[in-house]
């Protein structure tokens, strides 16, 4: 599959959060000796992903897998510990705020919690006008008004409500307003960090429809962070499954849902409660997700994998391009050496 020049590219992206800040915290007693030791949470490890224009790349994973950190790294809210982020061919992770300004208009973010993502002391009109004015100081007052009214109509918020404050709106309406705010600067790329998981089912559909509409009408490209696989299946064109800060499987949406390769993806898919299926046949994972502090050297999924063998613990599996899957077992499954019948035993 030949992809055009990617709009966004992550190369070997890493993010560590230092746990021990300051010199005194790094001093520890180990076996009678005082040693200096720094612990770090490895939130994102060596992630390389590309998003082509017009695509909707969904990043899925469970809590603590680093998916929100990826979103915040790309949005420039965090700086990567290593690796590079390129947008439209230009490197963006090491730029100053001023140098980022032209890109801010192109790249916007939608947040998870609509109750916290709007300033409670600003009316909707103020909240929507501010970015327009800031990025287009030359615009006249009436042009700014028109722009604001236009985005409000586009997200289905009556422009006559503009003088109200966020607390007068419901969660779904607030999320629409947050989307409207992102759209005021006419972006081409939107990072959406769990934009619907705080909303009710009937409202989720409304917001998801709105985002699909915006995609078609404005030609938006999305990076969509979520934990909800049914949303991925509906919204995404490509899916990256994250586990403990590493990509364990990357595939086109249809391919991933029809034929998941990585044992973790399979377990994840089988765990989604299905509406019409009376007899769930879910693959139980043993144990719990290990802590991302001082990660093991090998495959991060090794401790919970039903197919783990001696080569998994010491070696981190290299990405396998033909299948776009990362586990060595995926390759072996393909060759037919493994029967595609996972063990469904309980906690071992």
């Amino acid at each position: 599959m030949k992809t055009p020049q990617p709009l966004l590219e992550m190369r070997g992206l890493e993010k560590r959060f230092e746990l021990d800040q300051g010199f005194l915290e790094t001093i520890k007693l180990r076996g009678g000796k005082i040693v200096q030791e720094k612990r770090a949470v490895h939130a994102v490890n060596n992630i390389s992903l590309q998003v082509a224009p017009g695509e909707a790349l969904c990043v899925v994973g469970e809590s603590g897998c680093g998916k929100s950190t990826v979103a915040r790294l790309i949005a420039g809210l965090l700086t990567p510990s290593a690796g590079e982020i390129h947008y439209d061919g230009q490197r963006i992770d090491n730029r100053s705020r001023r140098a980022m300004m032209p890109l801010r208009k192109k790249m916007q973010m939608i947040f998870q919690n609509p109750y916290a993502s709007l300033n409670p002391r600003m009316t909707i009109q103020q909240a929507l006008e501010e970015p327009v004015r800031y990025h287009n100081p030359a615009l006249s007052r009436s042009d700014v008004r028109d722009k604001v009214a236009e985005v409000m109509r586009a997200v289905g918020i009556d422009p006559s409500w503009a003088t109200r404050y966020p607390h007068e709106f419901s969660g779904g309406q607030r999320q629409r307003i947050a989307i409207a705010r992102a759209l005021t600067v006419d972006p081409e790329f939107i990072i959406a960090d769990e934009p619907i998981s705080a909303l009710d089912v009937s409202i989720q559909a409304q917001v998801l429809n709105l985002m699909l509409e915006a995609k078609d009408q404005r030609g938006l490209t999305y990076l969509f962070i979520t934990h909800d696989l049914s949303v991925v299946q509906h919204f995404g064109t490509k899916v990256a499954v994250l586990y403990l800060g590493s990509v364990c499987e990357l595939a086109d949406t249809a391919t991933l849902f029809e034929n998941p390769k990585h044992p973790y993806t399979r377990a994840l898919l089988s765990a989604v409660p299905q509406l019409k299926d009376d007899h769930p046949n879910h693959i139980r994972l043993r144990g719990e997700i290990p802590t991302p502090i001082n990660l093991p050297p090998g495959c991060p999924f090794e401790s919970r994998c039903a197919h783990a063998n001696s080569r998994c613990a010491p070696n981190n599996p290299a990405p396998c391009n033909s299948l776009m899957a990362r586990s060595p077992h995926a390759m072996r499954l393909k060759k037919g050496a493994w029967t595609a019948k996972p063990r469904t035993g309980g906690t071992e």
Binding site: R72, A75, G76, L77, R97, M100, M101, R104, K105, M107, Q108, M109, F111, Q112, N113, A116, S117, L118, N119, P120, R121, M122, E130, P131, Y134, H135, A178, R181, V185
Partner: protein, 294 residues
């Protein structure tokens, strides 16, 4: 707010009393029968008249006169005006310093935060009065008491203002740290807004509630500080008496029958500080949504 106000008789009484004192004192030049700053209106022969309801009073002087023959009623009006003015201006200075420092420390974080907050700790480890006494004593000695008396108001505002900024800085920093984590701040950063704009337009309006509450308490504290300093002779000179210097000037006569010269301004001071504190209490309850919603 209005609802909780109407339901709270203490708040209603406090606000009425405070408004009365404030209006009377700020209209002092209009309603006071005498001008205590004008030596021409003072006659030493009128000194130590008792108030109207005591035998031997002079009908001219409603609350009697002090040891220099000044009308006590007029002097209290002017003195209260001066006390309130110093209190409010000193708090404005405190708030300006404290809010700026607190915002920067909380928002920028890291080394700057540590540096500013250690400064605040050092400042707080000296009591306000001690700092003020040292500063005022040194300036008085440096400039001589003539010049000092001329600019005493500004010195008092400056010293009380500077001595208490850490109260604001700490409170503001704590709320900024809480607000900074909220997504609307991230959203503003993603829109490319600069740190100044985010601090002033987005974080500050959401940190105002605790600022209002401590401001009321701080005004009361500043009035007390001013009164204490004036009482110790380091504040307003006897020629321009504030409530503190009035109490102080009457203090010498407390056992010689003219205790009213001290007691009446003392009562005014206590009432003033009490109602401000009560208003502060009410404001804190009213602005705290957890107590308010019920």
């Amino acid at each position: 707010m209005a609802y909780s106000f109407r339901r709270n008789p203490v708040a209603i009484v406090s606000l009425t009393v405070f408004a009365l004192i404030a209006v009377l004192s700020f209209c002092a030049p209009l309603i006071a029968p005498f001008d205590p700053y004008d030596p021409g209106q003072i006659d030493i022969m009128n000194s130590e008249y008792p108030p109207l309801w005591v035998n031997g009073a002079d009908a001219q002087f409603m609350l009697g006169t002090d040891d220099q023959g000044r009308d006590l009623w007029s002097t209290i009006l002017y003195g209260t005006r001066l006390s309130l003015l110093i209190g409010i201006c000193a708090v404005a200075l405190q708030a300006f310093l404290g809010i700026s420092i607190g915002l920067i420390a909380g928002y920028v974080g890291g080394r700057i935060d540590s540096l500013l907050m250690r400064l605040a700790d050092i400042q707080l480890s000296f009591s306000t009065l001690m700092v003020a006494i040292i500063f005022l004593a040194v300036t008085q000695a440096m400039f001589g008491s003539e010049t000092f008396n001329q600019y005493a108001v500004y010195f008092l505002i400056a010293v009380i203002g500077v001595a208490e900024w850490p109260q604001y800085a700490r409170t503001v920093r704590a709320t900024v740290l809480a607000e900074k984590k909220k997504e609307y701040v991230d959203s503003a950063r993603v829109l490319g807004f600069g740190p100044g704009r985010i601090m002033v337009r987005h974080i500050l309006p959401n940190s105002l509630t605790p600022i209002f509450v401590i401001s009321t308490v701080q005004v009361a504290n500043a009035i007390i500080s001013e009164a204490s300093l004036s009482f110790l002779g380091l504040g307003m000179p006897p020629s321009q008496p504030s409530l503190g210097s009035l109490i102080s000037s009457g203090f010498d006569y407390i056992f010689s029958g003219s205790w009213r010269i001290t007691a009446i301004p003392g009562i005014v001071l206590v009432v003033l500080v009490l109602v401000i504190n009560l208003l502060g209490d009410w404001l804190r309850d009213a602005l705290n949504p957890k107590l308010y919603k019920g």
